[in-house]
Amino acid sequence: MTIAHDDVRVDTPAPTTQTMTMAAALNRALADAIEADPEVVVFGEDVGALGGVFRITDGLTARYGEDRCFDTPLAESGIVGTAVGMAMNGMRPVVEMQFDAFALPAFEQVVSHVAKMGNRTRGALALPMVIRIPTGGGIGGVEHHCDSSEAYYAHTPGLTVLCPSTPQDAYSLLRAAIASPDPVVFLEPKKLYWTRGEVDTSLVAEIGSARVVREGTDVTLLSYGSSVATCLEAAEIAASEGRSVQVVDVRSLSPIDDATITAAVRSTGRAVVVAEAPGYVSVASEIQSRVFERCFEYLEAPVRRVTGFDTPYAPPKFEHWYLPDADRVLDAIDSLHFEDER
């Protein structure tokens, strides 16, 4: 059953599985969390009447009132800093940053407090809060609207960093994030907001677990967020060329699921890491080095990475050159010393 975004109903029991966009899945997750827990509050810039610039909070204020979803003054450090205070006082704030680059004013609060308050107080003030950040490019956005900042968050001890690639994961990871007793940075690939998929709202994802999304025997593609689709596309093409490609959606960028990743790469002996962010000191290079460390004896070729270039994100008209695409992934696969090509 395909339902439109506006049809999301939470007043009456809805069927467990529905087809919806990632945006609708996120909206549904927020609504279900608000209903499930009186301490959940949603706030940020334009999340009220407007429903957020991406409409992820659409209808929440109308349905649950200003008490549960409200607009704040335009100040990101203020949003994150007050969320810290609320979480210290027993609430579960879920805040929205408007774009990756506009979360940066809150960086001190994120690093010095969100990530550390629980540690500082030996768990007395662990902070159950979620910072939602629409991330990445591929939408033709002008400067500051397409950055990928997962490296900043993933490097920071104390933060959980999640990034869904499907509507289902969007729903079940966000529910898991809100339920988590720890602070979570929740990265939502803007490019995927309007992709559709089945969503079973009875599923809550496990934080810290990767997911094998396509089986394969020749090479493993490791990826997350919007790049998972790129990998699946590459896998499809490769299959038509006789190459069996496994695709893993890492999805939990911190903590990471070494077990699944390691087992996957050991089973194929070859791997390519694919992500959109600049590759230098990135989550991609971290995954790459972990795979090298843990699978060294199993590797038939060096692990490759296909990432954004180490340049500021490209202007809209340059985006198609900047972003990793299936062809670039296929090139990387081709470089993996396959015997049939030696």
Binding site: L74, P316, K317
Partner: protein, 378 residues
């Protein structure tokens, strides 16, 4: 760098730093003069130039909106309704002064002399900025809110260091006053007593969020006293009042009197950008009420009533504006010749070996695909 810090006003009553209770106005909504003891009416010549700016600014806003609909611009944050602020911000500056604009201030940028096509490069998507900031002394239009205010302050500090009498006018919106950088910029400017005019266009909204959710203050200009600088409020749809109030602040800055905070009360007549839907958060009646206070119509009524404007001149101005719009259309309808190697230029002044590698990889891809417009190769 002159590090004179202005000490808390000795003798003078700090209350003098407070803005008026009612915004300064020189021409009312019908075009009639409102005499003000503090601010003289600008001269006819200046009002005439302002009117031309309003006509051209309005035409540029309309044209840009049309270009968005036609898919030639990715996005356009229109200043429709705020053209008086845009034009005044440019007219009060001297040739050697600098303007620090936001994404919404394209009309002000163009009024400084930047060609409309160059000003639109960012919104077209050909690059992040399309003009040489030094040529017309206009900083790149800034998106991260309030951050440009600090650049403006530092820029003024450098000018003062060199003994130049440059004045810097920095623009931001009402919502942006909530950002930490707004606070830090105001404070640095006041502590170092710098020639900066902070010009807040209070258009009542930050995207969907109304002013009442940004501040509980009597007015945004009431923030000035907290930094030890004068604040003033002005009718943002009255270009005469804007010229007078901004002009006074520019004069003060130039003569060593330090910074000023000016809040213009205006209204964003259209949605935030074409991507926005303002019916979700405001009543049409409210928008309609502000249409009555249109800055262009008001000045037209004033000039006409004073015999400074007739139909011939109107036609002349309309034609001029149409020529500008046509040039903008032509420029945007032409596809720019984009060079993928530009991605790797200017990341640093010298290209690193790593970026060289990455460029060679992209170049190979493009060569294999046989065309620089397709990203792929298979």
């Amino acid at each position: 760098m002159q590090q004179t810090t202005s000490s808390p006003a000795h003798g003078a009553d700090p209350r003098d730093l407070l803005p008026r209770d009612v915004p300064v106005r020189l021409i009312d909504e019908t075009g009639a003069v409102t005499v003000d003891d503090g601010y003289p009416m600008p001269g006819d010549d200046l009002l005439g130039r302002a009117y031309q700016g309003l006509v051209e600014g309005r035409r540029i806003n309309d044209q840009a909106n049309a270009l968005v609909r036609q898919g030639r611009l990715a996005v356009y944050p229109s200043s429709h309704g705020q053209e008086a602020c845009q034009v005044a911000a440019s007219l009060v500056l001297g040739a050697h002064d600098w303007l620090f604009p936001t994404y919404r201030d394209s009309v002000a940028v163009i009024a400084r002399g930047v060609s409309p096509a160059d000003a639109m490069v960012l919104l077209k998507g050909d690059w992040h900025s399309g003009y040489d900031p030094r040529e017309h002394r206009v900083a790149p239009q800034t998106t991260p809110l309030a951050t440009q205010l600090l650049h403006a302050v530092g820029f003024a500090q450098a000018a003062k260091h060199r003994g130049e009498d440059t004045v810097v006018l920095a623009m931001c919106g009402d919502g942006s006053t909530s950002e930490g950088d707004f606070h830090e910029a105001m404070n640095f400017a006041a502590v170092f007593h710098l020639p900066v005019v902070f010009f807040v266009q209070n258009n009542e909204f930050a995207i969907s969020v109304p002013l009442s959710r940004q501040t509980a203050a009597p007015s945004l200009a009431h923030k000035a006293i907290g930094y030890g600088m004068p604040g003033q409020r002005v009718d943002g749809n009255d270009v005469a009042a804007l010229l007078a109030v901004l002009g006074e602040a520019v004069d003060r800055a130039r003569s060593g009197g330090g910074p000023t905070l000016i809040e213009a009360h205006t209204y964003r007549m259209q949605a935030h950008t074409n991507a926005d839907d303002d019916t979700r958060y405001r009543e049409r009646a409210e928008v309609q009420a502000w249409a009555e206070r249109d800055p262009l119509l008001r000045l037209r009524a004033h000039l006409t009533s004073r015999g400074l404007l007739d139909e011939a001149r109107e036609q002349e101005l309309a034609d001029g504006a149409e020529t500008i719009a046509a040039a903008l259309r032509d420029a945007l309808n032409a596809d720019a010749d984009l060079d993928p190697e530009d991605l790797f230029r200017h990341v640093r002044s010298t290209r690193s070996p790593q970026l060289d590698e990455q460029w060679h990889q992209l170049r190979d891809e493009i060569e294999r695909s046989g065309s620089a417009t397709a990203g792929g190769h298979r």
